[in-house]
Amino acid sequence: MSAPLLQLLGISRRFGGVAALDGLDLDLPQGGITALVGPNGAGKTTCFSIIAGALSPTSGQVKFAGETITGLPPESVCRRGIARTFQVVRPMRDLSVLENAMIGAFGWTRHVATARLAAADALAMVGLTAKANAAVGHLTLPDRKMLELARALSTRPRLLLLDEVMAGLRPTEADAVVAVLRRLAAGGLTILLVEHVMRIVMQAATRVVVLHHGALIADGTPAQVVQDPRVIESYLGASPTDPP
């Protein structure tokens, strides 16, 4: 097997006296959809921020495609092929939907026309083509989430970090997004997603890693992980003997 695309080596991050992440090790091979789950405060978003360069780890290393990227600023991390979405959507309010999606493309092209085409492709992938010229202020929350995804895609990432991109969506909408993610993964994109809705995790993920108090407590297929007594105790919140 080839070397992992992303490697977290002993990542710790302290906020004052609190350890948000405590010696986290994680390997992400090329391809597939991995779900990162865990209770609130487990360190999921901190983990994303550290991979994306928005936060520096207190200790530990992040390696991407064999290169150490710890401590690089977010724009450099993105330009190496890691794109992220934010849990709270952050559209640029004075740019149109299409223009929002163009920004990411400017990392790899200097031409406005090329960026526009790439943005249109990204919007088509998430089903926002009809709203390309709308003001972002007029988008519904699900549409904003999809714009967040389209913007990340237009950077042409090798690794996509999705922070609760399906939260607040209706089940049918979430299913549509899962289908999009599956298609992307089939095309060779590696996806790491944080998600709370277990139904979506079970449906979308090929692998699930569970974070609790800043450390991994489980790692396996969705079916394996939901059977894990430690996961059930700390996250799923029921004992295995409980009736379903």
Binding site: A83, R90, M92, R93, M102, I103, F106, R151, T155
Partner: protein, 327 residues
Amino acid sequence: MQVDRRLGWIAGAALFAGCAIAAPWLDGFTMSLLTLVFLFAWFGQASNLAMGFTGQLSLGHALFAGLGGYAVVIITTRYGLSPWFGLLIGMPIAAAAGAAIGWLAFRFGVRDVYFALLAIAVAEMMRVIFSNWNFVGGTGGIFLPALSPTNEPLRTLRGGALFYYAAALFLATAGTALLAWLRGARIGYLWRALRDDEAAARALGVRAPLHKILACAISAAMTALGGALYAHLNGVIFPDSMMGMALSIQIIIGPILGGLGTVFGPLVGALVVVPLGEISGTLGQSLGISGMNSIGYGLALILLIGLLPGGLWPAIVAGVQSLWRRR
């Protein structure tokens, strides 16, 4: 957006062409007033680039105007060299000063209102230094020598009212065209993305330090060019008038009133602010109240920000759009 574009281009082209054609028929007062309007439209576009496009509120733009003005005046009066050479020195110096402030701000995370304070601090510091520096004339400033009868305006960059009118009109046109082009250019998109949400833009690969510093430098160089023309127009340069807070405020008030981040806002703002300053200044003089023009600016700012927080130009566009739809 479409109407915004079309209306802007038609109105802009008509205004600039009209002002060029009308020149021979303008009386002295109107011409000098319009000269200032165009000059401040250029200054306004420079600060619009930093403030409106990139979100860096600079309250110290007089520093760059002063650097440009002093460079040209010193090169021509002390060394007898061409003012073009002075621009060649002054604009890069101002750009470097702008880049230095931009770098400092980025390096130490100074933003928004604190960025404005940093810019004021640097500008005031330079004003005090220039006031106490004999080489640049100290507080007494430098007076330009009388024009020779054989003066060639394009060689000396000095001339009569018509020369300054034409030069200012050229700058206002060029500045507006430049910002219109930048708005749809790659760097314009990156600047606006940084302004709207820096963290999100960086996560999308936008090199924040590079582009923010670049915006500061370009804006500063543009302001330096305007400052050189302003010094020549005044025939004299003092630290207080060319590097003081009053000029910094005069520079930014036009784009704020006209509409930050828009292409035509600074022009519309200058058309309101410059006559307003002149009228309230004259009124103040006849009443014996000094500083009346500052009161005029203040009142206009309070009124307009209260009524039209987005600025005059967006309000005009919205008005025309609603008329359009009613037809």
